[in-house]
């Protein structure tokens, strides 16, 4: 039984992708709906209009159905770092575990406490106290996203740590460097706005359904107004924060950016591929085959977005592997082979250190430690074989990125159009737009998933950029065990998704309470 077979590692990856993917269906809706609910309830408390209370309570019911399954799919993720990625947990747990623990202590307890008040306190606490609870639920959910993104950002850009050769693990030396990492706050903002976007598209789409059925028209108009405002802000801010994230990726993970753009050979003043079809005939990074069958490129835009300089050199896959180009700090980029040599030196130095300490040869150990520290920045390269190992799956990364951006642009347009028709008081009678709003719901969920695919497929082969590759991160659990739990998770989560969907559809069909079904008063 080969515990560390590629099959076991790939099944572990597949299982994490499955469970994280399922979790990320429900969490954006939780955060997005929490914001929309809080805004609606604020309007209710300000105006005293009972219709806003009915509206709020309806979306709160939907929120409650979704919240539970978000929790159900989330618990396994926290423990999966241990069950399936134990080497990773040993190696970096001192840093990675902290934001997860803080997430539990601060965010989850805040959510758990005030969600109870929110659900059960309508007639038990004052209006303002209840409103505060709803906003605190939103705050808790948002804080939860913050700490997870701090943890994930650290994987992409490891900082604020020092390697301890005695414990063979990285130890946090600067909490604030980890927490306030520019990669972290960019990713956090981008992820949170994506949640606003998903929540908004869901509310707009469901409201569109009510308008199509000519049911609860006033409720639907109220809801779609709030959703459209939140959605427009969300999607515009996604573009802004997406730019920020891309800038960070260019600086810290140039291979990911190259994969996102299908860029194999860099140049100064690199254009951004707005639309492209990759060439499946391109098999090797260093063959002369054109990476694209077709592309529409905006000149110099990638240099501008990635380096804030329209003439900046943007390295492609080949450049990063072969090195020799000038980095933004003026130094020359090392090639893969050069980094591999340094990585192997670091790994060997660690082995030598361990042996020296075991034998009591402290002077030798100090020498080995010095070599280790000198080469530690390239530690992970020592495990890789060839330069091609550095390349993430380019088609998946490229198409996920471009499709996500296209969907984002579509939604900006959609919410502008929705707001226009609402302003002109024509939303009620524009059936084509109601259909578009409804059928767009899956697109926002898709874009949301594609973003994570870009982030996580694009960072391959690394679990920790440059320090630890995926193949060294997994637990010593055989593929057979992981396949079994993979199947169990697939069955359970799919069953729960179906259960949630049927309950939610039933609740939506039932509609908000206390409103007559055939309400044509609308606008």
């Amino acid at each position: 039984m080969d515990l560390l077979s590629i099959s076991a590692v790939n099944w572990a990856r597949g299982q994490f992708a499955l469970t994280a993917g399922y979790h990320w269906i429900f969490v954006p809706l939780t955060i997005g709906l929490a914001l929309i609910m809080a805004i609606m309830e604020s309007i209710y408390v300000k105006t005293g209009d009972e219709k806003w209370k009915v509206t709020t309570r309806f979306w709160q019911k939907i929120f409650g159905i979704n919240f539970a399954i978000g929790i159900a799919t989330g618990i396994i993720l926290e423990f999966q770092f241990g069950t399936n990625w134990s080497n990773y947990s040993w190696f970096v747990g001192d840093i990675f575990g902290a934001p997860l623990a803080i997430e539990g202590i601060i965010a989850f307890f805040l959510e758990a406490t005030f969600v109870t008040v929110m659900f059960f306190g309508w007639n038990r606490v004052s209006r303002k106290a209840h409103l505060l609870s709803t906003w605190l639920v939103f705050t808790g959910a948002t804080l939860s996203a913050f700490w997870i993104l701090v943890a994930n950002a650290w994987m992409q850009y490891p900082i604020g740590m020092e390697f301890n050769p005695d414990t063979v693990r990285n130890e946090m030396v600067d909490f604030w460097a980890v927490t306030l990492s520019p990669v972290a706050y960019n990713k956090f903002l981008h992820a949170v706005f994506s949640c606003w976007a998903v929540g908004a598209s869901f509310v707009a789409g469901v409201s569109g359904w009510y308008l199509l059925k000519k049911r609860h028209v006033e409720f639907a108009i109220q809801s779609i107004k709030i959703a459209s405002l939140v959605g427009l802000v969300g999607f515009v801010m996604l573009a802004v924060t997406g730019d920020g994230s891309a800038y960070q990726v260019a600086q810290k993970q140039p291979m990911k950016l190259a994969a996102m753009e299908g860029l194999y050979t860099g140049k100064e003043g690199t254009g951004l591929v707005a639309f492209g079809v990759l060439n499946p005939a391109k098999k090797e990074y260093n063959d002369d085959v054109n990476p694209y069958i077709a592309k529409v490129e905006i000149p110099k835009l990638l240099s501008l977005l990635g380096y804030r300089n329209i003439n900046a050199f943007v390295p492609g896959v080949k450049d990063i592997i072969e090195g020799g180009y000038t980095l933004p700090d003026g130094t020359t980029a090392l090639s893969f082979e050069e980094r591999k040599v340094r990585g192997e030196k670091a790994i060997q130095a660690l082995a030598d250190y361990q042996m020296a300490m075991k034998d009591g040869r402290e002077a030798d150990a100090a020498d080995h430690e010095a070599i280790l520290r000198e080469n530690y920045a390239h530690f992970g390269y020592g495990y890789l074989e060839t330069g091609a190992d550095l390349i993430p799956h380019v088609p998946i990364t490229f198409y996920s990125f471009h499709l996500m951006v296209m969907i984002g642009m579509f939604f900006i347009l959609l919410f502008v159009v929705l707001l226009y028709y609402l302003y002109k008081k024509k939303m009620n009678n524009t059936r084509w737009l109601q259909y578009v709003a409804l059928w767009s719901i899956p697109l926002s969920f898709l874009a949301s998933q594609l973003g994570w695919i870009v982030a996580e497929v694009g960072r391959q082969p690394w679990t920790i950029q440059d320090i630890m590759p995926v193949e060294v991160s997994a637990s010593a659990v055989s593929a057979g065990n992981i396949i079994t739990t993979f199947i169990l998770f697939s069955l359970v989560f799919t069953g729960l998704l179906i259960a949630e969907a049927t309950i939610m559809v039933k609740q939506i069909k039932k509609g908000p309470e206390s409103l007559p079904p055939a309400d044509h008063t609308g606008q």
Partner: protein, 219 residues
């Protein structure tokens, strides 16, 4: 960790109550009453468990990686129980529930029994020991079985702990403790004469086994 561990065990009264849905409640309306009483508190236990796990990861990452990466099946079964619990309160009485309330109540019962019992068994292994190796040099290629630093030596990956009587004792102790706490919670919470009276008796029925199993574990 001690604080969180203590809080968690205290909050396991939710699981204790779930494990008694079939025994404490004799009729449907009694079951509903118990579920409603527990349904307002289940998230605190869940959140505490999640925080407990996160805190373990942050404070003792070497333990976390060794135990979770090794006792794979014991932790996975425990986690599956809690996954099923998380949706059960919300989904079981909702219109459109395609699985029916009965299925979710079975989930709650499983979470009540296995969630407490397995947790006790796993904690007991901290005292009775487990079969694993730690080779810090493995990651640098010094080991003979790959790069993984901590490796479980038993192919049952945690399930072998069920063969140890002391582990079983603590498992049962935690289960009966949870049921005792649940009974006390129901005594305090419920305004239902019959259930309140039954709960008072259950404090004794479960308190005594808890003490017995706990004493046997300690010896």
């Amino acid at each position: 960790m001690s604080l969180l561990g203590g809080l968690l065990v205290f909050l396991l009264f939710v699981q204790g109550g779930q494990s008694m849905l079939g025994s404490l409640a004799r009729h449907e309306n009694e079951k509903r009453l118990l579920i409603n009483a527990l349904g307002r508190k289940w998230e605190y236990t869940f959140t505490t468990l999640v925080t407990f796990g996160g805190a373990f990861f942050a404070s003792f990452p070497l333990f976390y990686s060794t135990s979770f990466g090794g006792a794979y099946w014991a932790w996975m079964i425990l986690l599956f129980c809690f996954v099923l619990q998380a949706v059960s309160y919300e989904f079981q009485s909702k219109p459109g529930n395609i699985f029916g309330p009965g299925v979710y109540r079975v989930f709650l019962f499983l979470n009540g029994v296995l969630g407490t019992f397995l947790l006790g068994v796993l904690v007991a292994t901290f005292f009775t020991g487990s079969e694993f190796t730690v080779g810090k040099g493995n990651i640098a290629g010094l080991g003979s079985s790959g790069f993984v630093i901590s490796q479980w030596q038993n192919p049952l990956h945690g399930l072998e702990s069920l063969a140890n009587l002391r582990n079983l004792c603590l498992g049962l102790a935690v289960l009966f403790l949870a049921r005792t706490l649940a009974s006390l919670y129901f005594v305090n919470r419920l305004r239902h004469q019959v259930l309140e009276k039954r709960s008072r008796k259950y404090v004794l029925y479960h308190g005594i086994p808890f003490l017995l199993f706990y004493q046997v574990f300690l010896i």
